[in-house]
């Protein structure tokens, strides 16, 4: 799966979990850029992404991301 495809799919998940249809994700997006993306919602995002892509992150990975781009890289590595 291409990075931009992953990003698109993630965007849908973010909109759904955070219940906000105006979110636009880029590789450079961080938690500070998105309203309501706090640690509690983060774990729900992670679980939703795991389900949607049928993958599992390990605990260190989840803590290592700084940007949406980092998340895309993690997902991409697992899918390809």
């Amino acid at each position: 799966m291409e990075r931009n495809e992953i990003l698109k799919k993630m965007n849908v998940i973010f909109c759904d979990v955070l219940d906000n249809e105006y979110i636009v994700l880029t590789d450079a997006t961080t938690a500070n850029d998105v309203e309501d993306w706090d640690s509690l919602n983060h774990i729900q995002l992670v679980v939703a992404i795991e389900k949607s892509f049928k993958i599992r992150f390990n605990s260190q990975e989840i803590q290592s991301w700084d940007t949406v781009g980092d998340m895309v890289s993690s997902i991409s590595a697992k899918l390809n």
């Binding site: 759904d16 729900q44 605990s59």
Partner: protein
């Protein structure tokens, strides 16, 4: 069942019309998402749970400090969630010689927490039991030594049940049972635990919340009282009208086993006090035949309170059953294998619970186990007798039609009532009636056994229970009245409630005669009544007017000095 994100979307809805209940949530792990799941689930069940959540890991601090925010919040329900993981880390830190004591010391802590809560509030306590963790240190031998964590955890769960059985205010939310059903891998997700210190996975939150809200609902009088069953392919395999008595499937062979086990489940519910009714499209005599003649039938006609087999549509038949039993549709469950019938019933009686039975009868029971349909918050000897009482009620309905004069009919019943104050023998039944009565209930104040024990101690509070017996049978304890001295002239009727199965027998007159004479004897001048409307008690809107009370400022007054006994055909025992 809704998933967590759907429950969360509920939080944006309007809660203002729902019944508010103040709930305190205290956990030794992160509970923010559980909080959201509880509130979202409450919305779907008609509750506005106003949840105050304690800071992280503040159970002891909030409960033992009498000036804490917990007590300032003044909750009606306190949820205490001590996790297996925190228990395990306590165990891990112990010197080995203390391994075998952890269940006991945890139980003592629970007891101390409850005593502290009970000393400061009248809140009900909901305690989560412990989902099993096997740390695999002893292997199977864990079952053979009290040193093992598994041994201690299971002992603790067992001891908690014993503790709950003797503590009226203490209820267990059985999350261990949820783990047994969902599996540990669904219950607990390591990445969630490591990153947020939550011990419940996102996926299991709705199950835990449902289990908890079921319990809160039952404490507040919301539970199922009646199970309505279809017959063909629901209670037995095959169609009795086509296949005949010898060919229906029930017993120990093949798929018959599934129906037999299902019938045993229904029988246990009946023994617990759930009313069983039949609703089937069949000729009555044909439908009754298996109950009378089939050797493998577990259920017999005397297990069934109302038997409705005819060729009318099921919606009308269920309405008839409801009219005979006189309970709300929202307290009834309807099981039918036919999706078409289920949909029609669901569409026409939306308050009724109509589970989506699986296609394969072998799956019926396992599916029904997951629904936790029959939550209750009490169990007493009366429950066991309930079916018989409804059956005699049906008989009375037949006899009544043969009398043209109501007085003659009532006289012919030879009714006797035993009047007694609350005592330790009738407390469970009083509590139960207070939880269950929705229609004939003037103020709908709910009392638990714990509340009643406190009431008995109070001076200037006078309690009454009434039984009703007649030539057809004993209805048991059917009415409760609580009088409170308001001033030296006036007794206030804090509670007047009655079981709807004894309506129209003149019980109201008998009760008023009893309490008026008591008030007069004690030197009071007035009885004061009040009607607080709810969605369900419209029936008693004019109760006090009918009984001759005069309206005064939204309340009702009766001068007992000039009271003349009202007509009734009930003798005091």
């Amino acid at each position: 069942m809704k998933i967590f994100s759907q429950l969360k979307k509920n939080l944006k809805n309007d809660f203002s019309k729902l019944r508010p209940i103040k709930v305190a949530l205290l956990g030794d792990t992160a509970t923010q998402l559980l909080n959201q799941a509880l509130r979202g689930t409450g919305y779907d069940d008609g509750f506005n749970l106003q949840i105050w959540e304690a800071g992280f890991n503040q159970i002891e601090r909030q409960i033992f400090d009498p000036a804490s925010e917990l007590y300032e919040f003044d909750p009606e329900v306190v949820i205490v969630f001590q996790s297996s993981h925190k228990l395990l880390s306590k165990y891990n830190k112990l010197q080995p010689q203390y391994y075998s004591t952890i269940a006991e010391s945890q139980l003592e802590l629970v007891n101390n927490l409850c005593s502290a809560i009970n000393a400061k509030t009248r809140a009900k306590i909901i305690y989560y039991n412990y989902a099993e963790i096997d740390d695999a240190v002893f292997g199977n031998y864990a079952n053979k030594t009290d040193q093992s964590f598994l041994f201690q955890l299971r002992k603790l769960n067992y001891e908690l049940m014993l503790y709950a059985a003797k503590s009226a205010n203490f209820y267990i939310a059985d999350i261990s049972s949820i783990q047994n059903q969902a599996g540990k891998s669904a219950m607990f997700q390591t990445s969630v635990y490591i990153n947020t210190d939550m011990v419940l996975s996102i996926d299991v939150l709705p199950l835990v919340a449902a289990r908890t809200v079921d319990l809160i609902g039952s404490i507040h009088g919301k539970f199922k009282k009646c199970l309505i069953l279809d017959l063909d392919n629901t209670l037995w395999g095959g169609i009795i009208g086509d296949d005949g008595l010898e060919n229906i499937q029930v017993g120990s062979l093949g798929i018959g086993k599934a129906f037999t086990e299902f019938q045993y489940w229904v029988k246990k519910l009946k023994n617990r006090g759930v009313i069983i009714a039949i609703c089937s499209k069949n000729t009555e005599s044909v439908a009754m035949e298996p109950f009378e003649k089939h050797p493998d039938m577990v259920l017999h006609l005397d297990d069934i309170a109302v038997f409705m087999a005819n060729w009318d549509n099921k919606v009308d038949n269920i309405k008839k059953i409801q009219a005979i039993l006189n309970i709300g549709f929202d307290s009834m469950v309807f099981l039918d294998d036919n999706p078409f019938e289920r949909n029609i019933v669901r569409e026409n009686i939306p308050q009724l619970t109509v589970p989506e039975l699986p296609v394969d009868p072998a799956d019926y029971l396992e599916y029904l186990y997951t629904l936790n349909l029959f939550e209750t918050n009490s169990f007493s000897g009366e429950d066991v007798e309930r079916t018989k009482q409804y059956q005699t009620e049906a008989k009375r309905a037949v006899i009544q039609t043969s009398f043209t004069n109501e007085d003659d009919f009532l006289k012919s019943l030879n009714m006797i009532s035993l009047v007694a104050p609350f005592n330790k023998f009738n407390t469970p039944r009083v509590a139960q009636l207070s939880q269950r009565s929705n229609q004939f209930n003037l103020r709908t104040v709910r009392y638990t056994e714990g509340d009643i024990e406190q009431l008995i101690q109070q001076a200037n509070v006078f309690t009454y229970t009434f039984t009703l017996e007649d030539k057809f049978g004993d209805n048991g304890l059917i009415s409760v009245v609580i009088l409170e001295q308001e001033d030296i002239d006036t007794l206030f009727i804090n509670t007047w409630l009655m079981s709807c199965r004894v309506l129209k027998r003149g019980m109201e007159n008998f009760i008023l005669n009893t309490i008026s004479n008591f008030a007069k004897q004690k030197g009071y001048t007035y009885l004061k009544g009040e009607y607080l409307p709810t969605a369900k008690n419209e029936m008693v809107k004019d109760h006090y007017l009918t009984l001759g009370f005069a309206p005064v400022d939204n309340q009702w007054l009766l001068n007992v000095k000039d009271y003349k006994n009202r007509k009734c055909f009930i003798e005091a025992k």
